[in-house]
Amino acid sequence: MRTALLALEDGTIYEGLSYGAPGEVNGEIVFNTSMSGYQEIITDPSYAGQIVTMTYPMIGNYGVNQEDYESARPQANGFVVREGVRAYSNYRASGGLEPWLKDHGIVGIEEIDTRALTKRIRTAGVLRGVISTEDQSGESLVAKARRAPLLLGQGLVGQVTTNEEYLVGDGPIRVTAVDYGAKRSIMDLLVASGCRVRVVPATADVEQILADDPDGVFLSNGPGDPSEVESAIDVIRLLLGKKPVFGICLGHQLLCRALGAKTYKLKFGHRGGNQPVKNLATGRVEITSQNHGYAVDPETLPKNVDTTHVNLNDLTNEGVRCREIPAFSVQYHPEASPGPHDSRYLFDDFVALIKEGAVSA
């Protein structure tokens, strides 16, 4: 058993044991309240640059398997748990979580009072931190945490987007998906809704996006601060009105910025699978999966854009729809993975929007 330390920029130091790969990593520390779905969380590209704390204390119970990847590899910078469970059990499991983390070089720490850490983040806001199995000096690690880069300016999207264009599915509806760090299950659900999806890099320009005259454009989720992805916003602006657009998470924030709205950083974000979101059109509440640290300021939305979804916990914006052009987006994750499936209807809405456009055109 190798000791490990977790130090925060505010000077808090937690002592634990090495979990996963040994080494030293830094990043913005965030917590996720999902009680299951750790494999999907760790492989979600939106966690690039972050150290993820799981609030559920026993992690690793069902091991890892070949299917529950949201991208090709783990994406989080680091991983914090109360108890890393070694003996796993599930008929789909192909191995244990810890060896898998080790294989992928993910540095983690266990035996941490993750509830205390969560409360720290909740009260102080997002903090930078360092996990180290090498440096045993708390003081030195705190200093390192303070020097760690902020999310802003890291070009995180550039690190996780696809380099090459590729195709998935062979449905009748042709969609171009701009990959800012897309989760695999979004593509799966687009395909399941009858789409053939051409995935293009985040750097794609309008020509590349519209190259095959798609029926619609999808803007994916991704890591970091939306204000950092100015070039993408310019591209989106040019797409508006030309093609039906659907955005999720970072895609939502980028669409809103392209429409002229502002985004801001939340104190500690929404990460988990139990966030209540009210659909203002139906009055129904959806339990949603979320993972975001930034939000759209609804006050800054232009008049011809309606707020469609609101978070009932803190009343932040969760979705918009344009009145005059075919475009809508949500802040949360209708593809879930992990999380509840209450909002999958949005993929059908996108297809319906595309079909509407086809009729009116």
């Binding site: 299951s36 609030t55 204390p57 069902y62 003996a87 599930n90 993750t114 409360k119 966030q275």
Partner: protein, 1100 residues
């Protein structure tokens, strides 16, 4: 949508007495519903026959009907009250079945009463197995392959198709009653016959066995706007085949990936929608094939259930309260989460700890029964524990169970029969968890254990980790323990007692070493949201982490220790008292701290006390909280034997025990000290002695003569207590029943045969005694007071006797220095009054007495214990009570086939009911109806009594004949009856040929049985008669005194004198009585203590 304004008056149905499968969880849910609906301005009419519930406290409803929950009686209440709506989803299966019966009979339609919470269609769709199966097929949810049988022939055809083993589930029964697993034709035929009989619709499901599959439950809530949330997922440690009430269960689900969990969630939501539950909560059970992940739906309860109570306590999400709000039209997003105060209830709790629930069985009370756990629930209670890991929570829950264990073995109590190892692993039983440990210690592999038991290897691996730590710790002396090792052990849930055993030390030494090493627990909050939001509700559990969350407070705190898991002898009555203490002391501006580990209770509701600690009731766990909270005092006398056992140790640790001192408790419980005290006071006691060996026992018997009442010292509920009529029987008892030793003496009393037993509940403040209730037992002495019916005011005792009883009560309260509650049992024989025992603590009858006189005894006792005087409390005590209250016990024989239903000195009842009426006969009849007995208005009554009762049976027989009942009797009894000139058919005994009485019972030719046995001698005949009667739902009276009371009850039924009246009206009518009472001897009264002695008490 806001609340409905078109309904104003709501009838809420409770669940009646505590029985196996339906415990105090429905008091918890009903109380929450009453509270929230009244706050919302609705007028609440409540019906519940169980006096030991908080919900039947008169201040919780506008009209409180303590009446039998039968369709007939509830119809009378509806006719009288004309409610707008009936809410049947918070009172368990009893309420649901009653409501269905009322709907089917057209009563609801006739009086224009709307069913809210769940519609009749939804209830039927969910409860009727064939409709449910159809509905599931409709939405593409797989169910196990199955078919319905309405006869044995149908069943045979089905089993041919499905093959053994098969599961049999009767429709519309509770707690799996009548169901089972059959492995062969013989078992199959038996279970089918049983099931067809018990199902009110004569329908049973014969189902593909999914034995050994993983079992899950989801708690779902849905509103009328189609918003639905899963409050909690629960995974059973025991696989399919063991009733979920008999399974160790864990929250949240542990071994499901998110994909599997979300698919299960999708299924649950579509089931809710299809069944149509749109304003409340439900529980849905699934089975998952561990090899393939194939998932099938097992069943759905369209109501709040035992699992809902567990889920509420496990997450902090108040399911019952919110279900009640949904029923009156609110939607989930309109209801605020009490714990976070800012977020809505429309969300799914996320928990950051592990919850383990474990059932509590009492097989020791039913030695003739099969202890194998099956689909029929047999446990009587449960404990829950919270830890940050499964290992910690599992060890905590074991020490919460009150079975003398302090964790998963390694506590010096291991009692493992190695030759039984494989069988104990493969056949589910109450000790299986300990056998898993033993198997691991013996080197059996996780895979082998898992394949023998069907328990998921994940759980077995976790237990293996506990065992590994145990083995690492074994033999480490206390001084060798350093901080990391101690912390590691505590984080894995090891108790100080276990560590003492492993290190060859004692508990107190471990405790002080642990404190020296600064390994002390931290308390974390249960907050529904895994710390994402600030929590305002101080609901805590202990764990060994770095940060403690207990809020500081300057107010004086009083700690109340609860009663732990329900079991026979210790039930809801004690929780009732603890809740009252919390209410009263809160009103008196104390900060109240509740400690308990029973998830079914009102005491563990987070708004009952100011602070709730969900913790085991052991010295270690309680002291940890005391160290942290520093209360001014602790109340141990309200939670029954569990906290009482801690009194001495707490006092020695410097804790202020409020009220009667531990020394006084000891004075009353120590036979020698108590005997000396009685002698000094000149109060008679039955001749008695104490034996520490076989020879001593024989000597005592020789001195005082037979019959004798024998029992081990320090027991509750009459454990192992027996009536002994001869030296031969005494020898048998000493050899087989108990192991007498100097540490565990046997108490021997002269048995006062035929004496009337009397219970008194009183409250003393050191200056005055409030004699609150004098209860006359209906069954004679020798039957445990907990199993005996009793009436208030007394109905046969003379004034002289009553005056003597009161006088002794006052003397004893003073002599024992009682400050608080006091219960005394007397035996009255030929006008002489003997003291049987004195218990200076809350008794089982406190709630009954409180309701019978309209004065909350426990509340006032708590105030007295906290220092107030009776004279300052200004109690409004009725000087005369013009109605009769009867308490009757409810026995679980239907769950334990083969067990003799004859009552005796060992308590076996699980609950109680109350009947209130202006006359004794009607009150008694109500109590019988409420306890589930049928009082036939006509038909044939079979009588067979022992010789000593032959004289008194004549009178009973004459009265029955006058009421136009046909009589049948065995030869001897028939001769006596005929001699009195009464017509009677003679029936042959079981041993005399056929057709005999047993045949008649089976053929439905007998509608009531009076059968009194003598002693415990050969009992083949009576035993068979009683068992057959019990199996066929025929009321069987086993004592002469009960038969006499029953005659009055039957008269009341025949004359249709049974009317209903709310408790509040009884009190008002009684207070309005202008005539002066003829006598007050048996009535409540406050008496001053003798002056010089009173001063002495106070000085002490």
């Amino acid at each position: 949508m806001p609340k409905r304004t078109d309904i104003k008056k709501i009838l809420l149905i409770g669940s009646g007495p505590i029985v196996i499968g339906q415990a105090c969880e429905f008091d918890y849910s009903g109380t929450q519903a009453c509270k929230v609906l009244r706050q919302d301005g609705y007028e609440i009419v409540l019906v519940n026959s169980n006096p030991a519930t908080i919900m039947t406290d008169p201040e919780f409803a506008d009209k409180t009907y303590i009446e039998p929950i039968t369709p007939d009686i509830v119809t009378k209440i509806i006719a009288k009250e004309r409610p707008d709506a009936i809410l049947p989803t918070l009172g368990g299966q009893t309420a649901l079945n009653t409501a269905v019966a009322l709907a089917d009979a057209g009563v609801l339609e006739k009086y224009g009463v709307e069913m809210i919470g769940a519609g009749i269609e939804s209830i039927k769709k969910a409860e009727d197995r064939s409709l449910f199966k159809q509905a599931m097929e409709q939405i593409g949810c797989e169910v196990p392959f199955s078919g319905f049988a309405y006869s044995l022939e149908d069943a045979d055809k089905l089993v041919e198709e499905i093959g053994f083993p098969v599961v049999i589930r009767p429709s519309f029964t509770m707690g799996g009653a009548g169901g089972g697993i059959a492995y062969n034709v013989k078992e199959f035929n038996e279970i089918i016959a049983d099931g067809l009989m018990l199902s009110p619709t004569d329908e049973v499901l014969v189902e593909e066995s999914v034995l050994g599959w993983k079992e899950y439950e989801l708690e779902v809530m849905r509103d009328n706007n189609d918003n639905a949330v899963i409050v909690c997922s629960i995974e059973n440690l025991d696989p399919m085949g063991v009733h979920t009430g008999d399974s160790i269960t864990v929250a949240p689900a542990q071994t499901l990936t998110d994909k599997e969990y979300q698919e299960m969630r999708d299924a649950a939501l579509s089931i809710m929608k299809e069944i149509g539950v749109a304003t409340g909560g439900s529980n849905i059970q699934f089975a998952v094939d561990p090899a393939t992940g194939r998932r099938v739906v097992i069943e759905m309860n369209p109501r709040v259930s035992r699992s809902s109570a567990l889920a509420s306590k496990a997450t902090g999400f108040p399911i019952a309260k919110i279900a009640a709000q949904l029923a009156v039209g609110y939607t989930l997003d309109e209801i605020v989460n009490d714990i976070t105060r800012e977020t809505p209830a429309c969300f799914e709790p996320s928990i950051d700890y592990v919850v383990v629930k474990m059932p509590r069985w009492t097989f020791e009370k039913f030695p003739d029964t099969d202890e194998t756990l099956t689909t029929k629930m047999k446990s009587v209670g449960e404990a829950m524990a919270i830890g940050r890991t499964f290992k910690e929570a599992l060890q905590k829950v074991i020490r919460s169970l009150e079975i003398g264990r302090f964790g998963l073995g390694a506590d010096g109590q291991d009692d493992i029969v190695m030759s039984e190892l494989e069988r104990k692993l493969s056949v589910a039983n109450q000790d299986r968890i300990f056998y898993i440990r033993a198997a691991l210690v013996a080197g059996m592999s996780v895979e082998k254990i898992s394949s023998l038991s069907g328990i998921d290897p994940w759980f077995v691996s976790q237990i293996a980790e506990i065992v590994a730590i145990e083995q690492e710790l074994a033999g480490t002396s206390l001084v060798e323990f350093d901080h990391p090792l101690m912390r590691r052990a505590k984080r894995a849930g090891f108790s100080d007692v276990q560590l003492a055993h492993l290190s060859g030390s004692d508990e107190l030494a471990v405790r002080s070493r642990r404190k020296e090493l600064e390994v002390i627990p931290t308390f974390k909050t249960v907050d529904t949201c895994a710390a994402e939001f600030e929590a305002y509700t101080p609901y805590y559990y202990s764990t060994y982490e770095t940060e403690d969350e207990v809020r500081e407070s300057d107010r004086p705190k009083v700690m109340i220790l609860g009663g732990g898991p329900n079991r026979i002898g210790q039930g809801i009555e004690f929780d009732y008292c603890c809740v009252h203490a919390a209410f009263a002391l809160k009103e008196d501006d104390f900060e109240t701290i509740m400690v308990n580990c029973n998830p079914e209770t009102v005491s563990t509701d987070y708004d009952t006390s100011d602070r709730l600690y969900f913790e085991p009731l052991t010295f270690e766990d309680v002291m940890n909280i005391i160290d942290r909270e520093q209360p001014v005092g602790v109340i141990v006398q309200f939670g029954g034997q569990t906290p009482l056992k801690l009194a001495r140790a707490l006092e020695e640790a410097g804790v202020q025990v409020l009220g009667t001192s531990p020394d006084s408790i000891d004075l009353a419980e120590d036979r020698r000290r108590f005997g000396a005290l009685l002698e000094e006071l000149g109060i008679p006691q039955a001749d008695n002695g104490t034996a520490r060996s076989y020879d001593e026992a024989m000597a005592v018997a020789g001195r005082i003569g037979y019959p004798l009442l024998v029992r081990p010292s320090y027991v509750l509920g009459g454990r192992a207590m027996e009536l002994v009529y001869s030296a031969e029987m005494l020898e048998g008892y000493m050899v087989s029943a108990v192991n007498a030793s100097p540490e565990h003496p046997i108490l021997i009393d002269k048995f006062l045969e035929g004496a009337i037993e009397v219970d008194v509940d009183a409250l003393c403040d050191g200056l005055q005694v409030f004699v609150a209730g004098v209860m006359e037992h209906i069954e004679e002495a020798g039957i445990h007071s907990g199993d005996s019916a009793c009436a208030m005011p007394p109905f046969t005792l003379s004034d002289r006797t009553l005056v003597k009883i009161k006088d002794y009560t006052v003397q004893l309260a003073q002599a024992v220095n009682v400050v608080g509650l006091l219960n005394i049992q007397f035996a009255v024989k030929d006008e002489a009054v003997y003291v049987i025992e004195v218990n200076p603590r809350a008794s089982r009858t406190v709630p009954f007495v409180s309701k019978a006189i309209g004065v909350p005894l426990a509340k006032n006792a708590a105030r007295v214990m906290a220092g107030r005087l009776l004279k300052d409390l200004a109690l409004d005590i009725p000087t005369h009570i013009n109605y009769t209250s009867v308490k009757e016990a409810v026995l679980p024989f239907d769950r334990f086939p083969g067990v003799d239903t004859m009552l005796g000195p060992e308590m076996r009842s699980t609950g109680e009911v109350m009947g209130v009426a202006d006359s004794f006969g009607v009150a008694y009849a109500k109590s019988q109806l409420a306890s589930g007995l049928h009082l036939p208005a006509g038909g044939r009554i079979f009588i067979s009594v022992c010789d000593k009762d032959k004289r008194s049976i004549q009178m009973v027989a004459r009265q029955l004949a006058d009421l136009d009942y046909k009589l049948a009797a065995t030869k001897g009894t028939a001769a006596v009856i005929m001699k009195a000139g009464i017509a009677v058919d003679e029936v042959v005994k079981v041993t005399e040929g056929r057709p005999n009485v047993v045949d008649m019972i089976i053929n439905n030719e007998v509608h009531l049985v009076i059968n009194t046995p003598w002693g415990r001698g050969p009992r083949a005949d009576g035993h068979q008669i009683r068992m057959t009667a019990a199996a066929h739902g025929i009321t069987c009276v086993t004592t002469m005194s009960a038969a006499q009371a029953l005659v009055q009850g039957l008269q009341a039924v025949r004359d249709d004198e049974i009317t209903v009246k709310p408790l509040q009206q009884h009190y008002r009518d009684n207070a309005a009585l202008s005539t002066a009472p003829a006598t007050t001897a048996g009535m409540p009264e406050i008496v001053d203590l003798a002056a010089e002695k009173a001063g002495e008490t106070i000085a002490k």
